[in-house]
Amino acid sequence: MAKPKIAFFDFAGCEGDQLQIANLEERLLDILGHVEVVSFREVATGHSDDYDVAFVEGSITRPEDEIRLKEIRKNAKVLVALGACAAIGGINCLKNFLAENVYREEVYGGQARWFSTYAARPLKSVVKVDAEIPGCPIDPTEFARITKELLLGRSPWIPDFPVCVECKQAGNVCRYEMGRMCLGIITRAGCKAACVSQGAHCWGCRGLVPGANLDAARIVMDRPGTSRKAIQDLLRFFLGDTGAAL
């Protein structure tokens, strides 16, 4: 059987997710041994429009991005959103809370009228996305697992429970017990609670867990010593495209 062809693409983002994949090093060679990579800017030159699986990084921030993304969708049998920007819009969506003239002026200054830009959005707002590998950046081991699942013909599995599960598995002390804020209670797991395990708190980079109880989460977060502004900022940081951000 011919090896499936895969390609990587990027829109508005830092290409950090493709870098994470490159960081798999020897493992990457094994995994990519099952496929033919036709386009992967982060590790090789060259490009082709003949591919089965498209891994797409970055969010959509310009009308012309839509045309290109739809083209990718047309060519690919499977389209995978890679990383927070692609999967949930990510931090690019922060600009959506500003007036258009404000962010245009801020970013492009006097040349603003030469650039097209609109509200940032995830891939799924434009095309059908078959699988997501969320996170900022992605967890390379999750990329490896999901790629293998695709190779085996399995629809990829990502956790459908909140980060709290993995945090408790890790034995971490809950941030709320330390009087801190944390978005683990509404964020999709799969990161092994990386940030909390490192002493930080969850920023929500993997997006909302399906069925997230946002009303309850707002009550939980609204504690003495926590400003509403801080809660709003945290909810907007990665979750700007979701119902969590106000």
């Binding site: 085996l152 013909g153 399995r154 629809s155």
Partner: protein, 277 residues
């Protein structure tokens, strides 16, 4: 000599020998145990099938117990990761199985009695094991009535087999579909509408039913209306059986584990459990 230490989580290999398409989404798989032994299951039990690298999922055994053959059958609807992968298999391919697990229909109780088999949708698959076991010992049972309900004609499975059963005279067959198309000439309506059509001797009739979750309450009510006692009604309940050993907790029905206390229950034993029906 194989001396690997025992673990109940270790499946054994079986080989796919035959694959038959039953409908657009349902396929029958015949497997052969590599150890050469019969599966030794009882009607109503299930096996956990491993598609290595994809996952493991429980399936009702649809063939009757076979004492001399090492083959068994399952029939599977393409609906998730494991079932989709199963559909890709070609004869000769190997998979892993654990089991048979769970309780079974109490065939000995049915001896000399009338039996009503109520199959909603894919419920015919596990009931087929019971049905053909009884047919093999046809003289030991009295009347046999089979009721089959399907949502749409195109979703009917084992169509020829059921037609043959009706012709054989061994089983009285009543069939209905919820949503007929222009090809359908038979009964129309949910499966409960078949019950009033059959004359049953309530004191002597045992009922075995399998179907979608919504079906049980209504069919049981119809049976009770006909005067069939709770302890003559047997149901097989689907839950999320994962470990098959009564450990992982996913298939709990109140305090029961569907994988070891079930899947076949006498209605009397579960009547009081709010999560059962």
């Amino acid at each position: 000599m194989n001396t690997k230490p025992f673990s109940p989580y270790v499946p054994r290999p079986v080989t796919l020998v035959e694959k038959t398409k039953l409908s657009d989404f349902v396929t029958r798989f015949t497997f052969e145990q590599d150890n050469g032994r019969p599966l030794a299951h009882k009607p109503g039990q299930f096996v956990n099938v491993s598609m290595y690298g994809i996952g493991e999922a429980p399936f009702s055994i649809s063939s009757p117990p076979r004492r001399t053959q090492n083959t068994f059958e399952i029939a599977v609807r393409k609906i998730g990761a494991v079932t989709s992968a199963l559909h890709e298999l070609k004869p000769g391919a190997k998979v892993g199985i654990r089991g048979p697990y769970g309780s079974s229909f109490p065939v000995m109780k049915f001896v000399g009695k009338d039996i009503l088999i109520v199959a909603g949708g894919l419920g015919y698959i596990p009931l087929r094991s019971l049905l053909f076991y009884q047919l093999r010992h046809r003289d030991e049972f009295n009347r046999m009535v089979l009721m089959v309900g399907t949502r749409e004609p195109k979703e009917r499975i084992f169509v020829d087999e059921i037609a043959d059963l009706a012709k054989s005279g061994d089983v009285e067959v009543l069939e209905t579909v919820d949503m007929p198309d222009e090809t359908w000439k038979g009964n129309v309506g949910v499966i409960t509408t078949l019950l009033p059509k059959a004359e049953l001797d309530p004191a002597n009739t045992y009922v075995a039913m399998v179907g979608p979750p919504i079906m049980y309450r209504f069919v049981i009510a119809e049976c009770r209306k006909k005067g069939i006692a709770s302890d003559q009604i047997f149901v097989s309940l689907e839950r999320k059986m994962k470990c098959g050993l009564g450990k992982c907790g996913h298939c709990q029905i109140n305090e029961l584990n569907a994988c070891i206390d079930g899947p076949v229950f006498c209605y009397t034993d579960i009547e009081a459990y709010q999560e059962a029906i």
